[in-house]
């Protein structure tokens, strides 16, 4: 059988995590869990791109501090974001004196970077790796959609890119939730052309990875306290539940979606949050906290990414999706 799931023998620990969000996100459902809420979206910078970069720098520094490490203890940075040529991560990496691996999995980047980092750590090649992703509403909006001041209405299936950055330190030693498994996903495209309907475009990828994961690990949804997707949103997560049901697997109350949970009802975000920052901030605040408290024992975290670009969609291409899954278990003494 073909194996796309990795089982980590040494089980790398997540020894520090940090999340930073924008003001609107700071009013959302997870507001008390975030480490830092920015006063405004510029974060003291001149442009939104510079603000996103500074968020990444802040998140990386914060995660290293919370892991009680020094910057010199870090071996590698694995990071990515949504902008062309992942400039926010690459430019943020200039500020640090360790090697940098840029990864791009659109909104699935958090799981992708943790999976890559865990593999490197588990292999015994590196001791401490820091992972980081971020997204910013205003930079994503101008790159993928329209200028901010344009007076248009957002279609009802659209989602709101979360302004936020999340970072965590993966380590061989120390105490913290363990990364026990990772399933790397295939690129799946079921021909959705509507760029405003990311949830529908990414749901088949989530299904594909989820099926592969359950099959490879011989687990069922009941083996997890929480199965959480990244930013399928309200519509996409409903589609995923339907798709899984067609395959004979029922996702129950332990399934939820970061994007769907992120904002409050009255925040006008239509189908919920999206972007790298959406699941990255939730994972590095809320989910980590619950794992440390022991409220969750075993979490399956599988954010999805829509690998589109404006050029490709203007040429009539459909939106391909990808989904990477990681299993994080609470630390045991």
């Amino acid at each position: 059988m073909k194996y796309d799931t990795v089982k980590f023998k040494k089980q790398p620990k997540i020894i520090g995590s940090y999340s930073i969000v924008g003001p609107k996100e700071g009013q959302g459902n997870f507001r008390e869990y975030f480490d830092y809420i920015m006063k405004n979206d510029f974060f003291g910078e001149k442009t939104f791109e510079k603000a996103e970069r500074k968020m990444i720098e802040t998140a990386i520094t914060g995660a290293i501090q919370k892991a009680k490490l020094k910057v010199s203890d870090i071996n590698i940075l694995v990071a990515g974001d949504l902008l062309n040529q992942i400039i926010s991560s690459s430019y943020a990496a200039r500020a640090f004196d360790f090697p940098y691996l840029g990864v791009y999995g659109a909104c699935s980047t958090m799981a992708e970077s943790i999976a890559v980092a865990s593999t490197l750590v588990d292999g015994g090649y590196f001791e401490n790796i820091v992972c980081c992703t971020a997204s910013h509403f205003s930079t994503a909006e101008r790159q993928y959609r329209f200028p901010l001041e344009l007076g248009n209405q957002r279609p009802p299936a659209s989602q709101w890119t979360v302004t936020g950055a999340g970072s965590c330190v993966i380590s061989q030693k120390g105490a913290g939730p363990r990364v026990t498994m990772a399933t790397f996903g295939k690129v799946v495209d079921w021909g959705i052309v509507d760029v405003n309907n990311m949830g529908a475009a990414m749901a088949p990828a989530a299904m594909d990875t989820l099926l592969a994961h359950f099959e490879n690990t011989k687990t069922t949804p009941d083996d997890y306290d929480l199965i959480v997707t990244g930013d399928l949103g309200k519509l996409g997560s409903e589609i995923l539940i339907d798709l899984m049901e067609d395959k004979g697997i029922k996702l129950g109350l332990n399934y939820s979606d970061c994007g769907q949970m992120f904002f409050r009802r009255n925040q006008n975000t239509l189908c919920g949050g999206s972007g790298c920052g959406c699941c990255a901030t939730v994972f590095n605040s809320y989910i980590m906290k619950k794992l440390q408290d022991g409220q969750y024992k075993r979490v399956l975290f599988l954010p999805t990414g829509a690998l589109l670009s404006t050029t490709a969609s203007q040429q009539g291409e459909s939106v391909p999706g990808v989904c990477h899954a990681i299993v994080v278990e609470a630390y045991e003494m």
Partner: protein
């Protein structure tokens, strides 16, 4: 009373034109650039078949303020110039008639772009 009726027509026709735009948005999910293009072409067409002036006579701003009016003046300018200058009018007429609007949009956009910066949506 007559003035009130005039303004009522302006409101009704203007509102109706905009509502047709909204119907297009809801039913076909088209972007604002496409909406504007569609209505400009409608304006050019209405002027070309000579209907625009009849609507304009009682609708006033109701048909001139929507971008249809912009299309109509493009066409009106071209037709007028063709009449007076012949072949050259095809090239000069349209933009001459609408130069005020286009120049105003460019000038004010430039000035305000220098003054303001974009605000994050809430």
């Amino acid at each position: 009373m007559e003035m009130f009726l005039d303004y009522l027509w302006v409101f009704l026709i203007g509102g109706l034109v905009c509502m047709i735009g909204q119907i297009l948005i809801i039913t076909t999910n088209i972007t604002s650039a496409r909406i504007l293009v569609t209505f400009v072409i409608v304006g050019v067409f209405l002027e070309a078949i000579g209907v625009f002036d009849y609507i304009s006579a009682f609708a006033g701003a109701g048909i001139n303020v929507p971008i249809i009016g912009f299309g109509a003046s493009l066409a009106k300018g071209t037709i007028g110039a063709v009449k007076s200058q012949g072949l050259l009018g095809i090239f000069t007429g349209g933009l001459t008639a609408t130069a005020g609007g286009i120049a105003a949009a460019i000038i004010f956009a430039f000035i305000f772009a220098l003054i303001f910066r974009s605000h994050t949506k809430k």
